[in-house]
Amino acid sequence: MGTHIKIKPYIPTTPSEIVEFDTTDPNLGGTIFTPDIQGATNTLYISRDPSTIGQTWVWNTTSNTYETYTVDVPDSTPFWLYGTTIDAGSNKTAFIQRNGPIFINSAPSNGSRYAGYFYSRATSGQGSGVLIRKDSRTTSGNYLLIQGHDFSTNISVDKLKVDHNGKLSINDAYTLPNVGGTAGQVLTDDGAGNVTWQSGGSSGIFGIANASGVYTYYTTLTLAMTAAVSGDTIEIFADVEETGSVTITLKDGVKINGNGHTYILSVDDATNALTMSSVGTYDLYNWNVKRTGRTAGTTTGYTFYSTQTSAKINFLGVNLENTFGTCYYGGGQIKNAYGVGYLNGLYGGTGSYPVVHNSYFESTTSGTGMYVPYTNIYNSTGVSNSGIGISCNGNVFESMGISVSNTGIQAQRMNKCIGISTSGKGLHGGSRNCTGISTSGFGGASGDFYNSTLISSSNYGLSGANAYNCSVQSSTSIATSSCSIYNSTIRCLWNNVGGHCTITFALGLREIVNSILEVTNSSAYCISAYVGSTWKYANNSFKGATIPINPSLIQGITNTSDSQGNILI
């Protein structure tokens, strides 16, 4: 067996300790060493004086002086001592650096699944951490990246990435914002991986669902309305009472579903609970909106305020209430509303006018149940205590007006309407196919009445009007006052000598033609008038009267019928 001689290869060594000094020469008096290690072997002294920065020195134990120290720099050095271009060589403890990437490649084995890891552990009372820093003179390509790669598919995925704006992306699936949110905000994904801060939380009173049915919640209706866009539905999940001056301005195309809950605005100022100020379509569902908090009789502070005539407002299952003033003020194409106000139910304001469909409005006191200037009312009901049930300077179709002590319906034209009053007038104005009923007031008054029924228990069935094809009746008073009557049936059920079918209180021409007039008391007249009056009456049928025409009445018809029976009256 031969002898093997092991030859230890030359391995250049370099000082392992680094000390910096502040002069051009460490031998100079007053030089400050950091750390303060002087005259040590295996130590590299580095100048930090601006004129000699980076120049290196070592301690010569023979001369007991510092000498400059220079080593050859290889063409390609893996690592340098930190802050120098000196090859770290075999130095395993110094603070080292290199320019260029570091690639760690290691096959996992025996439970080790890491190619490598950074580890920093603090001693007691000290901080610890791992710093990864990316420097760049430009920002666009400046990011930190942890990437995963699948050998089988040769596909790389950015598992974690921080871009130059500081936005963190995870698994190339979603990106988090680079700023914090405000109080109460939550992170919301738009479905494309863009995550942003949004007001709301995982639950709340007001919610807006996205296309997937996922809700974003809001703490106030104001915030929800601010966030909503056309097509959204704001859903309400609890009763709410606002005590500040909060007005909710509705947005075109934004629906509100109250889910049966109540929204109350209680504040003693002129704030309106809901407002609508632009043309559009507004749908409200299944919701109670109440305006309260002011002295009864106060005129401002509406439950619903609108400045638009042509905007469409659809109330489905919505109850509007105002405990001190007017419930709905202003214009709009109103459908299916239900509103009750202390003063007025609906008051069509100045400058914008409502058109009402299938709605109910009520005044609980002396205001108007429904006041609509110039426009129309369809299939609706207006109710008032001592005000007018429905007041309309336009047309009212298939509607009902009810008042305790005032007029049921007062309108320019009514068609298929019913006006009811306890002590006021049932109907006031021209009507077709209508019914007016009053207990102690007129059944109807003023205008031309066609195909209508007018009834009073203790007053005139019809007063100051023209009746065409009508049925008029009074139970305990004269049936008509100051009326012309054509093709109608007039009945006075009052068993009193004064229980006439007609009467006037001043001279004036009236016409009674082709009608049936019936009295209950035989001493009463079917046709009676102010003494000395001239009336035209012809082709009538009288019932119940001994003398049907008041003898003081003068016949105003002077023509006679032609051979065909026609007569000019």
Partner: protein, 93 residues
């Protein structure tokens, strides 16, 4: 000038000869109340048209009373006339 008084509950409603509402005031006339009033829904005083009288209506539904009573002034007792006249005098506007 007031031609008709309607008393509903504790409110008096006043109307002129055209049956236009004049106003409403709280009803407070103990003598009148004890003399005429009972359980009626509506008590109507006609000052002159069609005659001077008191009408009382019961169970009014949709403007139609189930029943009513009529008391003409001429049929009233002296006490009733006095109570009615005093009420009209005190409340006419």
């Amino acid at each position: 000038m007031t031609e008709k008084f309607d008393i509903i509950g504790d409110v008096t409603y006043r109307y002129d000869s055209d049956m236009e509402a004049q106003d409403s005031v709280a009803f407070s006339d103990a003598t009148f109340e004890s003399t005429f009033m009972d359980t009626q829904d509506l008590l109507t005083i006609n000052v002159s048209q069609p005659i001077k009288r008191i009408m009382k209506f019961y169970n009014i539904e949709m403007g139609i009373p189930e029943s009513f009573t009529e008391l003409d002034y001429d049929s009233m007792t002296a006490e009733q006339k006095s109570a009615l006249d005093n009420f009209i005098t005190a409340n006419t506007i």
